[in-house]
Amino acid sequence: MNIFIFGLVNSVILALIASGFALVYGVSRLANFAHGALYILVGFATWLFLNRLGINYIGSILLSIIIVSAIGAAIYRLLLIRVKGMPASEIIASLAIGIAIMELFRWRGFISEAYMLPPFVKGSVNIAGVFIDWQRLIIIGVGLGMMLFLWLFTHHTKVGLSLRAIAQDKHASIMSGIEPDRTAVISLAMGSALAGIAAVVILPLGNITVETGYMVLTNAIAVCIIGGLGSWAGVFAGAFLLGFTEILTAALIGPQWQMVVVLLFIILTLILKPSGLLGRQKELEERV
């Protein structure tokens, strides 16, 4: 029971973290290595608004999410657009921007245990003999809500549909009047906002550190790789597999093997099924 509940929480956290990265990659084929930086940016921004400017909690959350999505869009529109289509340059440029943002916080002294966001609801409940704090339940709720929202958004709104169209067939959608750069900007803005939402619900569990940014980035990539880049169902499948693997390893073998098992898992997945669990790799047929 314990394993189930904490496995679930862990999985939803991973799914939340990865969804922004997956959205951006899925739509614009851009591996946004600044994802982790945007994540902690929201954390620190919310903290600043809350504690320095005295804005109320909800206000600071909304404000910082809006700001970060604008920053995300700006990063693409002003910088990354110049190296679009050159994967090595894209990765290096976005990683460098991300590191610059994160290390700027380190320089400004955002490195102590004092930086943490308050939970939405304090206290904990007992479910089937397991004590679980409200915040974790909220995370599960928000995670499921976000999945639903994303599904509705991508299937029933015009912007969402155009995002999906670009993801599926770029040339055909360009011909039907969808502009790839504009959708890429939108996807980056949305991806950053998703990172922000993930940050504000997850960060109250612990404290905001610069290292979190690096960790979020690697986790997001791991989830997307296992699930298959550019596949929504894959992201969730990957998050759940990874989430439960982590918790099970910690419980059965020992926490020090957690990372080893996860890495082996990723490597084996890739060797056995190179495109990830649910990713689609072009059939050889199409390439010959």
């Binding site: 490195i111 245990e113 020992g254």
Partner: protein
């Protein structure tokens, strides 16, 4: 009209910036007045540990310089600080980076002594060879609890005689810890413990020897968990501890995420008192940051001094000086050790009447002076600080409990300011 594109404009500017930076670097002015004694401080400035050490050293240097400096064979010479960022606590950065920093401090900044770091054991151990190559005396005062350090000095004294360490080592720390637990057992009747350690060498070694030592003394060790650095969920281990009705949790961590452990412990109301080396919870700000959920935890400081106690006069001066300069009480023990280390050097230089290693090393070996954490004495064979006794005779560690937003010393009894308290759900 020769209008250039925006791209080449920015390219030129970038180049200009590079050139300017290069010049800034090569043209650093070499001012020489009153021949200062250069202290090279290689630390990770982007991490709390590094900042703490930097604060301690800066404070002491300012105090000494304000008082006229160091008396080297008759002439008063000030200390000059050269702090270099090693980034050695960053996981993705190779240690070669830290070694380069040490070497540069010695060669380019002409550092007479290296104090402070490197903070990571791996880096400090590798730096020993650099120090012995350049024959530069170094006193470590932050991080590095691995016993390998003084073992190497003892094994190859002639080569590594330049290396001293005041931070302590896991082995005496464990002895001290065992003593603490015996005292708590006698006072409160605890005998069931649950060990949780971080997956780094010193913590694992500590965990193992604690387990052995406690079992020998009749404790029951219910569980023993190793957590990788950066873990953010401790709920599985905590529930196990709760089910097994453990009375003492022994966490041994130096990562910041450990505050999550305390929050989860408080929220789950685990009826076991956390007593251990929880580096991230030493900071005064912890109380606010955890909403007071750190309450009742007992935290080990590898060296005393960060909380003022009447038993050690220098600690009171240090804490008030720190509060005056930085507005807060000293955070971790590394501020205290790094503060004292400058005074140790001053004392050694004044007695040696020279800056030469040949004179300084014997002076340090014969060191006998009160610091912020008791009497400072080095073992002449291993250059390790002698600890765990009377604060009037040796250096001591300190166990502080969080009570009402304050840190109070609960052990050792000689410097204690208050008695141990239990959380309400344990009564």
């Amino acid at each position: 009209m020769q209008n250039k594109s925006l791209v080449s404009h920015i390219g030129t500017r970038l180049l200009l910036m590079l050139i300017i930076l290069t010049f800034l670097f090569f043209l650093n002015p070499k001012v020489s007045f009153a021949q200062p004694i250069v202290l090279g401080v290689p630390i990770s400035r982007g991490y709390p540990d590094g900042v703490d050490a930097e604060r301690g050293i800066t404070l002491a240097v300012e105090e000494i310089n304000a008082a006229g400096g160091v008396n080297v064979a008759g002439t008063k010479r000030p200390f000059k600080l050269e702090i270099s960022d090693t980034r050695d606590l960053e996981p993705g950065v190779p240690v070669a980076e830290a070694l380069l920093a040490v070497e540069r401090l010695i060669i380019e900044k002409k550092a007479n002594f290296i104090v402070g770091g490197p903070i990571r054991s791996e880096g400090a151990l590798a730096a020993m060879d650099v120090l012995s190559k350049h024959k530069t005396v170094s006193i470590l005062s932050a991080g590095v609890l691995s016993p390998a350090y003084h073992k190497r000095v003892a094994e190859n004294y002639d080569k590594y005689k330049f290396c001293f360490r005041t931070t302590g080592s896991v082995i005496p720390m464990i002895e001290g810890t065992l003593g603490t637990f015996e005292s708590f057992k006698a006072k409160k009747g605890f005998d069931k413990a649950y060990i949780m350690v971080q997956d780094v060498a010193h913590a694992r070694a500590a965990g193992n020897s604690l387990k052995e030592g406690l079992e020998k003394k009749g404790w029951k060790i219910i569980g023993y968990e190793i957590y990788p650095t950066g873990t953010t969920d401790f709920s599985v281990g905590l529930s196990k501890a709760k089910e097994a009705k453990v009375q003492v949790l022994i966490p041994w961590f130096d990562m910041p995420e450990v505050s999550i452990l305390m929050k989860q412990w408080y929220d789950m109301k685990v009826p076991a008192l956390p007593i251990g080396y929880i580096h991230a919870l030493q900071d005064e700000g912890t109380w606010k940051a955890t909403d007071g959920k750190v309450a009742y935890s007992v935290v080990l400081y590898a060296k005393a001094g960060s909380v003022a106690t009447k038993a050690i006069p220098m600690s009171e001066a240090f804490v008030s000086g720190h509060k005056k300069k930085y507005g807060i009480e000293p955070r971790s023990e590394w501020t205290s050790t790094s503060y004292t280390v400058v005074y140790i050097l001053k004392d050694a230089i004044e007695r040696a009447k020279s800056l030469e290693p040949e004179a300084i090393i014997p002076a340090l070996e014969k060191m006998d002076m009160m610091g912020t954490y008791g009497k400072v004495k080095f073992d002449p064979k291993s250059h390790q600080i002698i600890e765990n006794g009377d604060p009037k005779e040796t250096a001591v560690s300190m166990w502080a409990q969080w009570v009402d937003g304050k840190r109070v010393i609960v052990y050792p009894d000689k410097i204690a300011t208050r008695a141990l308290e239990l959380p309400p759900w344990m009564k």
